[in-house]
Each structure stands twice: as C-alpha cells, then as structure tokens.
C-alpha cells in the first residue's frame, strides 16, 4: 500500500515534470513533494529550525539559519534548493535518501518561475462554512483511514491536494461539480463502494454539506494545509450497536421460547424429537465422549418417569469423563495447552495442565475465575486457600504457548515481540472472542480497537515472562524471589565464565597459540584411533551387507563400504576439535534418531566388535573431556600451576552449577512476574557486561517492569512512544494503578470480568457460543473466534445474549448452562427433516448430522473392542492422526472433519484397526456362543447403541450366509467378525445424528 501510494505520487511527479509547458503548481505538485520529503519536521506544529514549508508565505519568510528559503526567480541562491542538492551542508532531508533529480528539478523550476502560490483564495464565508460543516465530518468519519503517511486506498482526505489527487481508484472530486464527484456517490451509497466503510452512514444533512462544499470548489483554510498527519482512531455508533458489544439484557428468556418465536417468524417447522436410542447416543457422546453402555440404554429406555432424560443428563454431567471431554474442548482454544517442545521453549508440563483443566471442569469451577487464571494465575490464591498454586501458574503460562519460537526471544526483539503478541491474541480470541492482535500494526480495521489499545495491553505481557519456581512455593513473592535467585546464579556463572575465557586466551599467548599448538599435536596422536574407527565401521557395514536381503539396500551399503575403503587405502584423518569429538561419540553410541555403531553391531550379533566399539567410545569420551578442559584452560589442565587462578574461578562455577542443579531438580517452569527488557534499553547492560568481561545474556538481567512502546506498523525496528498499560478505550479505557514491581496482570484479570462491563459480556458470549457449537456442531455465531464486526453476524444474537445472562446469573457455572441447553427441546430434536427450508440450519429447527472428533472416535473403538471407558487415549496416536487431531499451532475455531481415502485405507487394511476391534468384540462378548439373531442384536447394541431394523437384519443375515456358503461351514467367528468390521467402517459409527 505504502509502495503504491509513493509510486502514484512519484508517477504524478514524473508526469508533471515531463510536460514542461505548464507552470509548476504549488498546491498540486510542490506541496505534495514537500509533505512527502520535508514536512515531517517542517510544519506549523513542529517547525524545526523555525522553518515551516507548508505555505508559500512561510517558505518566503524562511527559517532561523538560512533566511528566506526561496528567492523567487533565483533557484541558484534559494536555500530550499541548495539544501536538497547538498550544495549547502548538511544536506536535507537529514538521514534520508537524497531527493531524486526530477524532484529537485521541480523545486528549481517552481522557484525559477517565481515561487508562485496557486492555491485558490476563499471568502470568509466559505471558510466559515468549512469550519462549521466540513471539518467535523472529515474528522469524525474519514480520518480513521484516509489520513497519514499510508492512507487507505492511497486516498488522503486530510489535505486539499490529497483530495484533488484522488486515490488508487482515480480522482474523487471534481471541484464545482458534485454530481461528477465519486466521493459523493460513495457517501450516498449509490455505487459498489459505500463509505464510510464499517462506520455510520452520513446523515442527509452532512451529505448535503459535502455536496455544497464541492460546489463551492473545496474551500480550505490557507494556514492549515494538512489537517492531521496521522490516522485518527474513532469509535462509531455502528461499533457501539454491534451485537456483541451491546450491553447484555437484564433477564433471559428460555431457549425454546426464543427459538420458537424465530421459527414462527421464519415460517420453519421444527423437527420432531429424536428417538430415545439416538438421543441417548447423542447426549452421551456430547457430554462424555463415549457411547452409552447396554445397562445405560436399558435404564433409559425403560424409564417412563417424566424426568427420565434429566436423570441421564445429570448422571453424565457428574461423570469424571465429562471433565475429560469438555476440558479437551478448552484445550483446543489454548493451542492444545502445548509446551515449548516444538518451539524450543521451556517444558511447561502440558499433561499436568490438561489434568488440572479436567478437574476444573469436573468441579465446575466458576468460569470467570477459570478465565482469570489464564491471565494471572501465578498472582492469585489457590481455590484451597493456599497463597500460591503451581497449577494456576501453569494456566497463566498458556498465553505464551503459541507456535512462534522462543528461540532468540531474549536476544532478538522481533522474536520476543511475536511471542508476546500471542498473549494478546489468546486473550482476545479465546477469552473475549475478538481479534485484538489485528491492532498490532494499525488501528483495527473493523473493531473499535486502536493501535494504542493494543500496546496498552501488550505492556502487561511485556512485564511478564516464565521462570522456574520450587514446587512448594507458598506465595507470589516467593516465586518471584526464586526466579530472581536463578537469574543471579546464572549471572554469576556468566561472570566467572567470562573471566576464565579471557584469561585462558591470554595464558594461551597470542590469542590461543598454545592451545592451537596442542590441538595440532594431538591430531597425530589421534590418527590411528580414527583409522581404527573407520575399519570398525567397515566391519559393521560388511555385517549389514551380509544380513541384508534387499537388493537396493545392498547396493547402497556397498557404495558406502567402497567409499570408506578408498579412504582407508590412503588414509587421511579428519580434523579433530571438540565438536567433531562429540559427533564421533554420537556415531559410536548413537544420538536421537541416529543409531550408533554399538547398537548396529549388537543387532548383527557381532559381540567382539561391539565390545571393542564400547572401549573406543570410552576412550573418545575421555579424549573429548580433555579437549574441553584444555580449551577452557588455555591448553593446560585444571589444577596445573600455570592456571591457579583459573582453577579457583572454575571451582566457583562448579559450585554454582551444583546449586543450580539442586534448585532445578525441585523446580517447575511456570508463568512469572518480570519481563525481558525492551531492546533499546539493553545497551547499558551490554556495556556493563563487557566491562565485566562476561558474556551478555539479555534474559538474565533483573526482572523488568514497564510499559510497551508503540511500534510503527508493528515493526520492532520502529519503536515510538511509550503507551501506559491500561484497557482499550472502547471498553471504558480506564487507566489502572499498577505497582512499580508488578506486571499489572492481576488488574487485567480483574478488569476482564468486571461486572456488567462490555468485556465481561464478551467473555460470557464467547463461552456460551462455544458450548452451543459443541452441542449442535455449529455455533450460534459461526465465527467463534471472531464475534467482532469482522465475524459472521449470528441469526439469533438474542439467544446468545440469553445464554450469556444465564451463565453469569448461575455464578458462571458452565455445567448449569450446558444442562439447560441439553434439556431444551431444541437439543433433543431429530436430525431428520422433511423440510427443505433453511438448508444450512441457521435457525436450528433440527439437530445437525455431524462427524465425531478424533478423540470420541478413538473412545468408540476402545469401548467396542475392550469395553473400557476411562478416557485414556494412550497408544492410540495412530487412530488420532487420521481423524483431524487438534493442532498445537493455532487457537482452534472448530475441528475440521476431513474425508480422505487414507482414513479408509487405515480402517480397512491396518490390522490393528477395525480387524482387531472386531475380533476383540467377538471374544469379549463371546459372540460365537450366541444364535445369529441374538448375536446381531448384541452387535448392533454394542456398535450403534440401538436395535437393528428388519431390513438391516436381512442384510446382515445375507452377508454372513454368503460367506458361510463359500467356506461350507455352519458357524465361525470370522464371518461375525467380518460383519462387525463392516459396521466399524460405516458412516453411522462416526456420525452423530
């Protein structure tokens, strides 16, 4: 966009200079050039050097140093020209590229032609009209986008020349001719383009004023050429009236009443209730992620009492499997509660976090409290009254657990910024259901969130990081002290290491000569070792060649042997250093996925070879340690008289290491107070470290608290002013008192659930919308991560509001709202519909047919095969991977349900898939001892949780008899098993209806 704008300005300038006939226009040519190149520093509010280059009058008056900036008719002596050509020093603009020749030419020509001002003069009446009617309209409705250096669509409405120049779509105003002016048709909403975009449509009076203004020829004040040099964030009525930003109603009607009213209005016929078998299956999967057991089916089917279904629901909600199922939904909004393994960060115990989440759901802890823990759990007391809880501190680390790398977060500002950005993103998307992170680079284009708001929030996260605390920490203060102690120890260690490094290099004379000499001499010593090792490798390869049956593999091995034998025939040893010795260790002993020679020889049964390799491994390891020592002690060994001082220092390091190790053994990495310093403040610490001869580690400076800087375009290389920590303007914008040694996250956590606030309403709306999603397969608002104006507008916001009110009134009890939804008639409807209306089911006049997610599919298989319902997915990774498991990369909006032949291949052909489950079921229920009709009934009940229909029975019998006639046997378990397998591959198994 920026580029396009400049290009168009550039093209405009080029064009004008090409046509040399017309006199140069100050307003349309010179002023834009000056604005682009000079006036960031030379405008009325900031006239550096006393120079204001926005008006001809002030140009002729000039600044403090050079006198008049332009001498009409005499470009050769005009400071304006001399400064940009560099003939007068310093060249202007300062610290920027010099002006291109054609721009300089333009200025010269304008001065040569007499430095004339061609701006039209307007009458006082016109100017009053502008001030009264036009200025407020421009400020309130246009400058959110069409101002500043990078105006939307290249159109700058904050200056007369900008309006005359038009935007990417061409000219927008023909002065004097309103009907031909594109601007007017846009604000009248006549064409495709309707302005102001996303804002309130202008009133008829305002439109009439604009029309009049154009007719009068765009009157503009002569002393204020540019009304604003930045975009102006504004909040419109349309923002305030957006469904998700409105205040919640005070009371809530029942779900069914609200729906029925809408169905009537839309002329929709609701589906009948689902039959009991299918309803039980649905509610069982939805609440605990498992199908019902035969006993549960029987109990419900035979229960004629009026509250039979409620009984089922209450049983399910009190099952521990409820927490597993709904906790899993929560993990989806937390990037799978992932840890830093993939992004090289600290291990933050995802399994422990998941267990805690499960418990929270089972105990139905108030959701407002639960949400708060994810911002400031490390600063909150535990629910048991303890002063500090590791689990809460882990929850508070969740905003850090995104896919962006931790690597270099301490040293590279952009890595840190990206990491912190994930915190704001999590808070917006997962807790509030809005896209706060969009305001990182510019004011939010759709929602009332300014860029300043973003950085006000970022400050909370910037003042926090993670650190290790003892598992028995009693208070936030203790946790803070523990983190600081660790940093201190590491600092001290860095101090001694630095001393050792510098001194060792000095001892080693001439920057390491002794050390190099030692290394060089040692190469020769190692030559026979190296050669022997290669011989041993060839021996292993030869063993593998003999053992291998694969023709292609044999060829590969032979090539490898040939290469090595060629080398051995005229042996050139490799060059050794500490690193290559380490790699040799891997080569012999293995490392990660690399299988070592020892294991390879062991597999081949070459015991002698294995033994010899083991001794070599030890030898090389001893050698490596010596190398490391010689390197550290400037070619000497620790304790040698030459390195007495170094030895003392190293003893200190050993002590520190021991303490660190002891501390770490009892520590857990969690969220903690105190962030990393802002990049621009690191210099002094770096200098201090340098003076101290120690390595500088930006993450080891003492914990830091402070505000974030606004970054121009979100770019860490462009820091601007500090933005005090606080809350977005739209949500009240109040500043909050934050202690000097505090991140303020506790205040943030309190703020987000402030009673009767817009933000707490959002938190409630986001939560209930997701509940609906998990119970109907679609949310009431179908963009659950984006309830803001960019998201989809729900058909029934009143239902979301009602549920949100219920959630808050119940004391934020998720279970109670889930219960209310599930026992509504709406939930219990059948998914079958005769009606062809509302094909996308936006009004939920029926239930949806939906595929089970990965975990319930796995659950189903373990339940059918093993009769186990314990929520344990271990060992089923294979299954999970085929059915769209959650990713750790993202805050999941809704699970996808892909259909791929790889799934079919897996189910049909993988022996441990349906084949195993089917035969397990036969064995478990002793199906081979049953007569066929009974057997089929049991199978249908186990697999589909219902009885077979007559036509299904016929189908099943035919299936089985077809196979029996082939093998001429009366009964075998194989046909039964094969039939079960068919059911396990069927659609009904993994679709809920």
């Amino acid at each position: 966009m920026k580029l396009i704008f400049y290009l168009s300005v550039g093209a405009c300038l080029l064009l004008s200079s090409a046509i040399a006939k017309d006199p140069v226009s100050f307003e349309r040519e010179v002023l834009p050039l000056l604005e682009h190149r000079c006036n960031e520093c030379h405008h009325p509010e900031d006239s550096q050097g006393g120079l204001d280059l926005t008006r001809v009058a002030t140009i002729l008056r000039g600044g403090d140093d050079d006198g008049p900036a332009a001498i009409p008719g005499n470009p050769g002596e005009s400071p304006l020209v001399l400064r940009v050509t560099g003939e007068t020093k310093p060249r202007m603009p300062k610290k920027e590229e010099p002006l291109p020749d054609h721009e300089i030419d333009l200025l010269k020509r304008w001065v040569a032609e007499g430095a004339r001002d061609d701006t039209p003069e307007f009458s006082q009446e016109d100017l009053t009209f502008f001030e009264k009617e036009i200025r407020p309209v421009l400020f309130t409705h246009c400058f959110k986008c069409h101002a500043g250096k990078d105006p939307e669509s290249g159109l700058m409405l904050s200056s007369r020349y900008g309006i005359l120049a038009g935007g990417n779509r061409g000219p927008v105003v023909i002065p004097g001719d309103p009907e031909q002016s594109f601007l007017l048709s846009a604000v009248r909403h006549e064409g495709v383009l309707k302005m102001p975009k996303g804002g309130d449509k202008l009133s008829e009076e305002k439109i009439a004023s604009l029309e009049e203004w154009i007719r009068r020829g765009l009157p503009w004040p002569s002393d204020e050429k540019v009304l604003t040099r930045e975009k102006l964030f504004t909040i419109s009525d349309a923002d305030r009236e957006h469904w998700a930003f409105r205040p919640l109603p005070t009371s809530a009607g029942s779900i069914d009443t609200i729906l029925e009213k809408r169905w009537q209005a839309e002329d929709l016929e609701p589906a009948p209730s689902a039959d009991r078998h299918r309803l039980l299956r649905r509610v069982s999967y939805d609440l605990i992620g498992y199908p019902p057991t035969p006993e549960e089916i029987a109990n419900y089917i035979n229960d004629d009492s009026p509250g039979a279904f409620e009984k089922v629901v209450d049983r399910l909600l009190s099952s521990d499997l409820y927490g597993t199922r709904w906790g899993r939904h929560w993990l989806d909004y937390t990037r799978n509660g992932a840890n830093g393994q993939q992004n090289r960060g600290p291990e933050m115990l995802p399994a422990r976090y998941a267990k805690w989440v499960t418990d929270c759901f089972n105990q139905d802890v108030p959701y407002d409290w639960f949400a708060q823990t994810h911002l400031a759990g490390d600063l909150m007391p535990g629910r048991d009254g303890s002063g500090y809880s590791i689990d809460l501190a882990l929850a508070a680390a969740v905003p850090l657990n995104g896919a962006r790398t931790f690597q270099n977060a301490a040293t590279e500002t952009f890595a840190l910024m990206d990491k912190l950005d994930e915190g704001v993103e999590f808070m917006g998307r997962s807790l509030m259901g809005i896209s706060l992170e969009c305001a990182r680079c510019h004011d939010h284009k759709f929602d009332p969130i300014s860029q300043r708001d973003y950085y006000a929030l970022l400050g909370f996260f910037q003042s926090s990081w993670f650190g290790p605390v003892p598992s028995d920490t009693k208070s936030p203060a203790e946790a803070f002290a523990a983190v600081e102690r660790e940093r201190e120890l590491l600092q001290e260690k860095a101090h001694f290491d630095g001393l050792i490094r510098v001194e060792a290099t000095r001892i080693s004379s001439h920057g390491g000569e002794l050390r190099n000499r030692w290394m060089k001499e040692r190469q020769g010593f190692l030559k026979p070792w190296d050669k022997r090792l290669m011989e041993l490798e060839v021996a292993v390869l030869q063993g593998e060649l003999k053992a291998s049956a694969d023709k292609k593999l044999k060829l590969d091995i032979q090539t490898a042997i040939d290469e090595r034998e060629l080398n051995l025939s005229d042996f050139k040893q490799r060059f050794f250093d500490v690193r290559s010795l380490k790699e040799i260790g891997y080569q012999i002993g293995g490392h990660k996925s690399e299988i070592g020679l020892i294991v390879r020889s062991e597999k081949l049964g070459l015991i002698d070879l294995q033994k010899e390799l083991s001794t070599w491994k030890e030898r090389f390891e001893t050698e490596r340690l010596e190398w490391w020592e010689r390197h550290r002690f400037g070619s000497f060994r620790k304790g040698d008289p030459e390195v007495e001082q170094l030895t003392k220092w190293d003893d200190e390091v050993v002590k520190i290491d021991a303490e660190l190790e002891k501390l770490r053994a009892a520590r857990i990495v969690v969220r903690c107070e105190g962030g990393l310093r802002r990049a621009e403040e690191l210099a002094e610490f770096a200098a201090e470290a340098k003076a101290d001869k120690r390595q500088f580690y930006p993450d080891l400076v003492p914990a830091w608290f402070g505000d974030a800087r606004l970054l121009d375009r979100g770019d860490v290389m462009e820091p601007r002013e500090l933005i005090p920590r606080g809350f977005p303007t739209f949500f009240g914008g109040e500043q909050t008192h934050i202690d000097e040694k505090s991140s303020g996250r506790l205040e943030l956590a309190k703020w987000i659930i402030t009673q009767d606030s817009t933000q707490s309403a959002l938190v409630a709306r986001a939560a209930v919308n997701r509940m609906w999603l998990h119970l109907f397969g679609e949310g009431l608002c179908r963009s659950p991560k984006e309830l803001g104006r960019l998201g989809e507008i729900p058909e029934m916001p009143e239902l979301i509001d009602a549920l949100a009110v219920k959630l808050i009134k119940s004391g934020w009890s998720k279970k109670s709202v889930i219960r209310e939804i599930v026992i509504s008639n709406a939930y219990q409807q059948s998914a079958i519909t005769e009606s062809k209306q509302d094909p996308a089911n936006r009004f939920f006049a029926r239930q949806n047919v939906r595929r089970l997610e990965a975990e319930p599919i796995v659950n189903t298989m373990t339940w059918i095969g093993e009769g186990r319902r314990d929520g344990n997915l271990l060992g089923e990774v294979h299954y999970l991977s085929h059915f769209d498991p959650p990713t750790t990369d993202d805050l999941i909006e809704k699970r996808v349900a892909s259909i791929a032949p790889t799934q079919a291949l897996f189910l049909m052909n993988q022996p441990t898939a349906t084949q195993k489950v089917a035969s397990d079921l036969v064995r478990r229920l002793k199906l081979d001892s049953l007569e066929l009709p009974d057997c089929l009934d049991v199978i249908y009940e186990s697999v589909y949780q219902r009885h077979p229909t007559d036509s299904e029975l016929t189908f099943a019998r035919e299936f089985i008899e077809r196979r029996r006639s082939q093998v001429e046997k009366s009964i075998t378990t194989e046909e039964i098993s094969e039939f079960i397998q068919l059911l396990l591959c069927s659609n009904e198994l993994i679709y809920l209806e």
């Binding site: 892909s898 079919a904 069927s986």
Partner: protein, 443 residues
C-alpha cells in the same frame, strides 16, 4: 442467499472435489471449466527452507558493502546470459529455460509466519497455493493424491541431516477454508510412501463385493439424511482407497527407473549429496506424469563444510561459506536434470518448476531476514524462458523494478494454469483483490 444443495452442487462440479470430496482423487475426472486457456497442469515447487540469500544465488548485487558476505562469483550463462552463481554449475547450463524473478516482495521476515504467508497468505481462506490449484483444476488422476509434499531420505543417505520440512507446518500446506481434503498429503517415508495399501481380503473381486456391501449398509443411514453430502462422499472415499491400493505402489515404485543408468546420472542418484533430492524430484516427475497437481519438495538440512549443519537460514559469514555451497550442491544437479528430463518427455510445457524460499535476505545486517526483496525462478509451464524479470536496488535488498508481491506470484501461477484469480472463489471468498498479474513472466 444460495441454497445449500445448490451450493454443494456448484462447488463440487467446479472444484474437483467431486463425489469423494478429496484431494486424493475422485470418482471421475471432472470437466473443469478453465477461465481461459492455461498451460500449467502441474507444479513442482523446490522449496528452500530458511530463505535463501538472493545475493548468493540468482541476483548478483550491483554494490557490495562487505565483500566478506559475498564470496561467490556469478557467471553469465547460456544464450540468454543470465547471471547465476557459480554454486549452480548445472543450472547455469539450463539457464535458457529459466525465468528468474528478482523482484519478489511482500514476504514476512520470520520463518513460521513467513512460510505460512508465502504459501497460503493470499486469501482470507488461508488456503495454500497447492490447495487452490487443485481446487481450480480438479484432480488429474482419481486414484492418486492431487497435492503432495515429498520429504524423507533414501536409505544410505547419512549426508543430509534432515528429511526436509516446510516452515509454518501444516498451515503452510493446508487447505485453510477450502475443503480439508485439498490439503497436501505429506510423504514421510520414501520406502513406504503411503501406508496400509495391503488389503486383508484375498482378491480384488472379494474387495469389490465388500465395498458394495459397505455402500449398501451405508444407505440405511444416508437414506435418513439425503441432504447430507458428506455421507456419500465418505462411502465413495472407500472406493477411491481401493483403487489407490493398486495405483499408488505403481506411481511410487522407482525400481524400473533406477535401473536405467542415464536416469541415475540425470537425477544424481549415486553421489551422496544429491541422492535424496534426486530421488524426490524423480518421484515428482512420475507423479506429474500421472496427473498430480502440486508437488512440493522441501530442501533438507545439510552438513556444513566447516562442521555442523544448516539450512538456507544463513545468518553469518561462517554459515554462508559452510552451508550455502552444500545446499546448492544438493539441488543444482537434480533440478537441472529434472528440467532436462521434463523437456525430453514433452512435459515441461505443462509443468511449472519453481525454486524459492519463504523470504529473501538482506537489509539491516545484510544477511538478515528480508521480506522486501527475494528471488524465485521458474521453468516450464509457459514462463518466458531465459529471462530475468524485475530487479532489486543497488544493494539487492528491496524490489524496485517490476515488483512482484507474494500474492502476485500466486495470482500469476494460477493464471498460467488457466485460472483467473478474480473468479476463483469458494463460498464467495477468493484471492485478495489487490492481486496483480506479473504479465512479464508469461511468454
């Protein structure tokens, strides 16, 4: 508002996700309406993980601030005289087939986001380029995946240090908001590219019967929900799977190919540094011959000449001197071989070969991540061969002449396949409006 059934009907026929709704194949090859005649039927993308430095490869800087950072020479190559780094002696020989685009910009200068952006940042749907192409062209072979990523090392390759991966992970090669089945299928194990291809049933006939039985069983359920299209798609996916059992092993079987010494030589299957890359590009050619639409081959981590290892993320002089030559070595010969091979087989006209990473290098620090200037080259598929398009500034950091935005690359590639970025839409959402065609690279 469009009705759902109508919508499904439309999207299915326009998208190549016909009955099976699957990138792996479909019940029938769709008769897709191209928006205009296009040459490209398939794309092979050699992805340089980490962001290659244009100044070391295909964009010789006009001015060098620090010669330490520019140890490699460039030579004018071919009739066209394209300047190509000495690290690519084989590609220099096919210079007249290349179209080097030196004015890429609009990349994101961090790896994960950069990867996602360069592959899938051109639409609000966040669908990858491969998914869009497959969606637009439809499947070219009902029995094979339409969108594939080839990773892995051949047995015996202990030179390469990784299997190859794409920055940004699944999202970079995903379907985004397009039907999930358009996402890339990642081949991880070159010996066993697709799992579970062996049926426990004794014959194809038995399996055919089994499939009809499954279809019949499923009608009990789908009969209750005639409007739910997914149900039939899923039934059909079993049939596709069945056909894949025979088609996939054939497509991925290289045994005949590797017996041919000239193929071994052409793709560099014998020297260690080119062995795995050559194998993957050879596989890619086989998949192209069989109608696969989009194949990505990500570069692998390689050993450094000075010890250690690395990928294209070369930040320091030590890295660039140690790693860059090996990275180039790994792909130079096989890529040149691929281009020659495609040409001889008459496939180059319909196959677009692309080389490039998620960003360029330059700007502050000279070897830093850089989104304002990067170089890709293309061959085949109707690009203007033997040309260089666009240019960076003096230092080679910022695209200044004929700049091509990431989204313009996508629009242009799709255009060459006969797809108009303004018309290609799913649920009313298409590519970004600001896409422009880089007309200058189309012949």
């Amino acid at each position: 508002m469009m009705k759902r059934r109508q919508f499904l009907k439309q999207t299915c026929s326009a998208s190549g996700i016909v009955a099976a709704s699957s990138g792996w194949g479909a019940e029938a090859v769709p008769s897709t309406q191209l928006h205009h005649p296009g040459k490209v039927k398939s794309v092979i993308f050699y992805y340089c993980r980490g962001g290659p430095a244009q100044g070391h490869t295909f964009d010789k800087p006009k001015k060098m601030l620090d010669p330490e950072l520019h140890p490699f020479q460039f030579q004018k190559s071919g009739q066209s005289g394209l300047e190509i780094s000495e690290l690519f002696p084989e590609l220099q020989k096919v210079a007249d087939d290349l179209c080097i685009i030196r004015s890429g910009y609009g990349a994101k200068a961090t790896h994960a986001e950069g990867g996602q952006h360069i592959f899938s940042g051109t639409s609000a749907l966040k669908a990858s380029l491969g998914a869009w192409l497959l969606y637009g062209l439809g499947t070219g072979n009902a029995n094979l995946p339409g969108h594939v990523v080839l990773t892995g090392r051949v047995p015996g390759d202990n030179w390469a240090k990784s299997d190859g991966a794409i920055h940004g992970g699944a999202r970079s090669i995903g379907a985004g908001g397009l039907p999930p089945s358009l996402q890339a299928q990642v081949i991880r194990d070159l010996k066993n590219p697709i799992e579970n291809l062996t049926s426990p049933l004794d014959s194809a006939a038995t399996q055919e019967r089994w499939l009809s039985e499954l279809a019949e069983l499923n009608t009990h359920f789908s009969g209750r929900h005639p409007d739910v299209a997914e149900l039939n798609s899923r039934t059909a996916s079993f049939r596709t799977a069945f056909r894949m059992q025979s088609a996939a092993p054939e497509a991925f079987d290289l045994s005949k190919e590797v017996e041919n010494p000239s193929i071994r030589k052409r793709y560099g299957l014998d020297p260690l540094p080119t062995r795995s890359t050559g194998t993957k590009l050879l596989l890619a050619r086989r998949l192209v011959e069989r109608g696969v639409r989009f194949i990505t081959v990500p570069s692998m981590t390689v050993p450094s000449l000075g010890g250690g290892q690395g990928d294209w993320d070369t930040h320091t002089p030590v890295q660039l001197r140690g790693v860059t030559p090996n990275l180039c070595r790994a792909c130079d010969h096989p890529l040149a071989g691929l281009i020659t091979d495609l040409k001889e087989r008459g496939l180059l006209e319909q196959t677009l070969v692309i080389w490039g990473g998620e960003m360029g290098r330059g700007d502050k620090g000279f070897l830093n991540h850089n989104g304002d200037g990067f170089t890709w080259w293309m061959a085949g598929g109707g690009v203007k061969a033997g040309t260089a398009y666009g240019a960076t500034d003096e230092l080679g950091f910022t695209a200044v002449e004929n700049p091509v935005h990431v989204r313009d690359f996508h629009a242009t590639i799709l255009w060459m396949a006969g797809l108009d970025y303004r018309q290609l839409k799913f649920k009313g959402i298409g590519l970004e409006e600001s896409c422009k065609l880089a007309q200058g690279i189309i012949s």
